[in-house]
Symmetry: C2
């Protein structure tokens, strides 16, 4: 199956992918829904009249929420039709005027958030990540919390601060506790970290409060997946998080890639679900596979330097499936809306090069990452760009996610902002780092926490 739009070898976006996005152009600042094809986009608003009437309004919308809300059957209709339209010798190809207006080079597109995110939730579903953090801050024997294998642990995040790839992230200021049991300190975050994640958008009609999404039907409510970087201010998190969880350490910004890859495009890459032992409760049990072989990469690029790949991971390492996450999210009756975003949590694998955060890669600051340009890092510096990439590949078919890339900046230049610069506080920070807050740091046993 070939598209009349050229798809370069190795492209993330062949005809079999067709990820959705929202774009505008210099000539037309109206946000429009599109799919990516090769190095172009197809403007779905421009060709909406070529689709069945019941989906046309959604394709003319300025976000993907309407299409997400139409549900699984409509997604298949749209995808089938888009595939037809972009295939060689289609009626679209023969309409050169329409091709000219509807097929636009990605280089001319400004990408926007794919949807208005009503609510954003972050799970914690990699057993390797949870175990790493558990070993770091407790012990190998007690690495996982007792609840961890019984339910997909998660928490509500901040929807407003989810931004699209390319939005600069400001180094946050906040309270930290550099010396254990001493006075807190106010200033720039010195342990700024990324978290390699993926996230899915919820689709289908809005549910009512009190209603549940049954686990066996949950996959039909998952519209598609994006890449995510869940920026984390480890030192701020450490001080603030007891007892109600991460707050300002996370709402400084969460970056997602502009492309939402439909579940249908990922079907060839289905792999068995992660084996779960002990057996989970019936409301979390599903028989169909809903795990995917998606290669994930994190590159770190200091300002004006080459990027270095510092992590190679895979979505399949997740213990809990997206279907289980959604079923658990709604078990007490939480209503969901199309456009809700639910993230995986840091996706670490088993090997050291697959750890999905600086905290793990540098094992809470006990070692450094060497970069190509000669620099090294324990946490992120100003000017650093973190680039997350992901793709599936098998039998010559490559389904890619594009990239999720944001740079750290600091607007208070007069203050030492980065860990490496602030030599004078290095000692006390690393003394404290034994207890750096991580998502699963246990409190001390000194009775104060």
């Amino acid at each position: 199956m070939t598209s009349f739009v050229p798809v370069p070898k190795g492209s993330d976006f062949p005809l079999e992918n067709l990820p959705y996005g929202v774009f505008s152009t210099r000539d037309n600042s109206q946000k429009r829904v599109c799919v990516a094809i090769g190095e172009h986009v197809l403007d779905l608003a421009a060709v909406s009249q070529l689709y069945p009437q019941n989906v046309q309004a959604a394709l003319q919308s300025e976000s993907l929420n309407a299409l997400m809300g139409l549900g699984y059957e409509a997604w298949n209709v749209v995808r089938t039709r888009t595939t037809e339209l972009l295939t060689k010798n289609s009626p679209l190809e023969q309409n050169s005027t329409l091709v000219k207006s509807a097929i636009i080079p990605q280089s001319e597109c400004q990408m926007h958030l794919p949807a208005n995110i009503g609510d954003y939730t972050d799970f914690y579903s990699s057993i390797y990540h949870a175990t790493n953090v558990g070993i770091m801050f407790r012990s190998k024997e007690n690495a996982l919390m007792p609840n961890w294998k019984h339910l997909p642990v998660g928490y509500h995040g901040r929807a407003s601060s989810v931004v699209v790839s390319g939005t600069p992230i400001r180094r946050p200021y906040g309270q930290t506790i550099p010396v254990e049991n001493a006075a807190p300190f106010f200033g720039p975050c010195r342990l700024l970290d990324f978290e390699l994640e993926m996230a899915f958008f919820v689709g289908g009609p809005e549910t009512q409060l009190g209603e549940r999404v049954p686990v066996e039907q949950a996959w039909k409510r998952i519209f598609g997946f994006t890449l995510m970087n869940d920026w984390s201010a480890r030192d701020i998190q450490k001080w603030e998080y007891v007892p109600l969880g991460p707050f300002t350490a996370k709402n400084l910004g969460t970056t997602i890639s502009p492309w939402v890859v439909p579940v249908a495009a990922l079907e060839p890459f289905l792999v068995p679900n992660y084996p779960q032992d002990p057996e989970v409760f019936p409301y979390l049990k599903h028989t169909q596979p809903f795990n995917f072989d998606i290669n994930l990469f994190v590159d770190l690029k200091p300002e004006n330097q080459e990027p270095t790949t510092i992590c190679k991971s895979n979505y399949r390492h997740l213990y809990w499936t997206a279907a289980q996450q959604l079923a658990h999210h709604t078990i007490t009756g939480c209503n969901v809306r199309p456009g809700d975003l639910m993230a995986s949590g840091t996706i670490s694998g088993e090997t050291e090069d697959s750890f999905g955060s600086m905290l793990e890669l540098c094992w809470k600051g006990t070692k450094s990452i060497q970069l190509k340009g000669g620099d090294s890092r324990k946490f992120l510096q100003d000017g650093d760009e973190v680039i997350i990439r992901g793709y599936c590949e098998k039998d010559g078919l490559r389904i890619g996610f594009g990239k999720c890339a944001d740079k750290i900046f600091c607007i208070e230049r007069s203050v030492p902002c980065t860990f490496e610069i602030a030599k004078n506080i290095e000692h006390c920070l690393f003394t404290g780092l034994e207890d750096v807050l991580s998502e699963s740091l246990i409190p001390n046993n000194n009775g104060r926490f």
Copy 2:
């Protein structure tokens, strides 16, 4: 100052209040913005042409977000004009056709959520509540966490599950751990609780990611206050909350009152801020008072029985002001949008009759509340209605909040749902209750948490 609309003695809604709401009627299902006056509402869309042009579109909107977004100066303009219009002998009074269409009995109004809530945050700002919970689960000496007096502890909540007063709340099902260190159990929540809270809506233009709201300006960004019941499934919370905070134990529903009382109406009831020791960081320091003397009440009404007032508290008990909450929320650069909702956390006072949750009133199940009809309660039963009321009163002026009232129901009637019914599990539950999850339960020191 008297309104031409009758205001009965003891009404929550005199001319000096004018709380905002969103309503529809049987004749006109269009949602419209209004203010309450006595036992009526003034439909602001119907009279919008009597206001300055720059606020008319906001008054014709179907939610309060647009008005909230206009900012402080515009709020004053609207309030001044509404007061004029409703005062005796106003041009409005003389226009009997307009009066007939724009002044509508509240009994004919269906009230809706006042705004589309982009994000909802819950703080934890009553020192009495935090101390109570700390004493219950730790000790008197270590009741407060070390961070508690340095920053307003808070967490992101679920916006979709915030509902308006009158929406039935379903008893949630979920995982609990009735016997410490034994296997988890799936079934109905047995320790269902309310939390007496108040919440404010954020106003003013949307801020950008990376921007902060300075504490001295924060009060200008607070549109008004509502009553809130933050329903809490204590037994579910206990098992799920480590390490990332409350999740499904809270997103079963959060109820707010339909009326948003403007800050301007509360000005006569300003009281000094709660004294803070130790001194807070400059970003949290503000000199102007932003604390209010608001009497708060919780009534519990079993099905077909009289209500019993089980809690009398006051907003002034909060240690952190709303201005400090907003400043802290944005310190790491979190962007805020008009319509964002930020809640106080449970508002407990110093005395036992002022505790704002069943957990505290019954001291984690060690005693019962006696109700007028002869029943008693340790936690909530199906059919129970929890009614929160609030008002300020001084020198003959009463500014009220109306009420926030929702009832618990259970749709799985075949299963024993309530604590009292499930006698067979009472023992194990109360054995476990020593460690019932509360918002600040400390983990055991057995190394597993």
